[in-house]
Amino acid sequence: MGVSSGPLLGGDGFLTTKISAVANWGRKNSLWPMAFGTACCAIEMMGTFSSRFDIARFGAETVRFSPRQADLMIVSGTITYKMASVCRRIYEQMPEPKWVIAMGSCTCGGGPFDSYAVVQGIDEFLPVDVYVGGCPPRPEALIDAVMKIQKKIDNEGPPIV
């Protein structure tokens, strides 16, 4: 990016940049989360969205329960194999570019449920960008994850598919 001004241009300043840099700047500051809450972690996620922790400060307050209007999937809660196909389908319905946060021990690796029904980590079927450990993680941890996604968008742009 550069800033120029000169008499040739009538004295007005203007910016030079790349279209991808502007697009990424827009993307990272208006992440629209798709809240996929299935268990206790979802309560903590709701806490993060609401006024006390207020994820709106990071531009991610527009929670969409329609995957077609979202670009950040926050999977929070125990995912069973029966739910996993639904989760994957919802992920596929989200338009590109899209990112995934695995919130909580359950989504990272099955958590306390080493059982016949529970997926031992959603990376078995989803491309996860940021893992947040904890049972449940504190809202600060989720905000940190959102900021990590923002950094990632800044550095790398949209994921390569």
Binding site: Y81, K82, A84, S85, R88, R89, Y116, A117, Q120, F125
Partner: protein
């Protein structure tokens, strides 16, 4: 002064034809009932003795601890105006290891529908005459009965297969 008749005595008298044995633990009363007479016994309890509420239908798998292997347990409750008329009893039906099956009590209490589906889902007990004998918790094409004691609770292979089939169906 004579004490009022014990409500349990009255019930015992009415259903004595169906009872195989009886046990009491900490004031909770259980009757063992034969597998062929469960529906008759239940309709008598509901229609004439006032046990309108089927609290739960569940199963115990004794595997090698006890013979026969399975025991289907019915928890029944009666609501009454007075405290003493409120009563909870338990019926137990023993079932064999091979092809355990019992008549459905859904015609008596419609609330038995989902309870029996869960008992089938987890233990593989067949409820004859059930109006909707599908699995309720696990995927419909799941091929194990996970709460049987000889099932390894960490065995995820069947779940994975169901998951993959569900994905393929979704992509069609």
């Amino acid at each position: 002064m004579t004490s009022p008749p014990d409500p349990v005595d009255q019930i015992r008298e009415r259903i004595s034809g169906y009872i195989l044995s009886e046990s009491t633990f900490r004031g909770e009363i259980s009757f063992a009932v034969g597998v062929e007479s469960i529906v008759e016994c239940c309709s008598l309890l509901k229609n004439t003795l006032g046990f309108t509420y089927l609290v739960d239908v569940t199963v115990v798998d004794y595997l090698t601890v006890k013979f026969p292997r399975y025991e289907v347990v019915y928890l029944l409750h009666r609501f009454g105006e007075n405290y003493e008329e409120n009563l909870r009893i338990r019926l137990k039906v023993a079932l064999e290891q091979d092809g355990p099956a019992i008549d459905s009590v859904t015609p008596v209490w419609s609330g038995a529908n989902w309870l029996e589906r869960e008992a089938y889902d987890m233990f593989g007990i067949t409820f004859r005459g059930h109006p909707d004998p599908r699995r309720i918790l696990m995927p419909e094409d799941y091929d194990q009965f996970p709460l049987r004691k000889d099932f390894d609770v960490r065995d995820r292979e069947s779940s994975k297969r169901s998951f993959e089939r569900a994905l393929d169906e979704g992509l069609e």
